[in-house]
Symmetry: C2
Subunit: 156 residues, 2 copies
DNA sequence: GTGGATGCAAAAATTTTGCAATATA
DNA sequence: TATATTGCAAAATTTTTGCATCCAC
């Protein structure tokens, strides 16, 4: 079975981009931190651990390239930096995000859930949907559970 | 009947913020350009027409204030600048956006549409939703109609 | 009168670009 | 070998901050 990184390499090749060690190192960092939502600076620092000679500009250029190839999605949570999120392989749609206002954690929702909404928008607004971004802001399950425990403790 | 701007002024007052001419001018610009999605720089240039002495920093500070008061919502379409969108009065939820990949226009969807999705997320992820951001990327009705016309013309 | 608000300029932070040197296919 | 890619530094952009002055309450 072919590895994820092999398939990404082939994607680069098919689009006639060269396979440089810098690009490979960047892709590896993204794969190894799939659950995170890294900024360009975050990626740069992690790549630097393995390939110390890499420049920040190369990381920006590689992330732009991977966005173009739809290997990653560029996303912005409103904190002033762009973040790069690996698109799940074969995923028809970009996944959604849950940002906790309390602890700052960002969780992912892989289910689509938007099919009905998209049907309505396409029909009623005559808008042909190609992609979407959906983010919820609120309180995550960890903070909710902690609060439940606190409440229970106070009742005693 | 009380005007929209009067109510916003009262909101400022209730939160014990002062009512300066700069703040009033900024709010007016936002009201007069309600359909647009202005960046801080955009707002600055428009306010400057009426109150030329205003500084960009004041605009940033005012927009931050209005965001805190939930008069506007800060939103980011991934083009490197934050934009500020007047929240519809009495709207329970932030409205959605349709960004056209062809002509760049941003249209708004005032219907909520997310009730069912939010129920699922709250239940299945134990996530208490406070706010949301939903943006669709695709082709707008104007570009779709133009294309239909072009197709019809080519068939002749 | 006083504390918050402003304007300006400087700084910070993020991202992009020019260019000579390098390395991939 | 030819051309895409890189690293570095400089530039461009966007946003924030310090501080003396000013003004709304």
């Amino acid at each position: 079975m072919e590895s994820r990184i092999e398939r990404i390499k082939k994607q680069l090749h098919s689009a006639s981009y060269k396979l440089t060690p810098q690009r490979e190192a960047t892709v590896r960092v993204l794969l190894e931190n799939e659950a995170d939502h890294l900024s360009a600076e975050d990626v740069y620092l992690l790549v630097k651990e393995k390939a110390p000679e890499i420049g920040l500009a190369t990381v920006y250029r590689t992330l732009e390239l991977l966005t173009e190839l739809k290997v990653v999605d560029k996303i912005n949570f409103g904190d002033g930096v762009s973040r790069y999120d690996l698109r799940k392989e074969g995923a028809a749609h970009f996944h959604h995000h849950l940002i906790c206002l309390e602890c700052g954690t960002v969780d992912e929702v892989q289910e689509d859930l938007l099919e009905d909404v998209e049907d309505i928008v396409e029909r009623d607004y005559n808008f042909k949907i190609k992609d979407h971004r959906l983010t919820f802001h609120g309180i995550c399950h960890r903070c909710n559970e902690r609060k439940d425990q606190d409440d229970a403790a106070n009742k005693k």
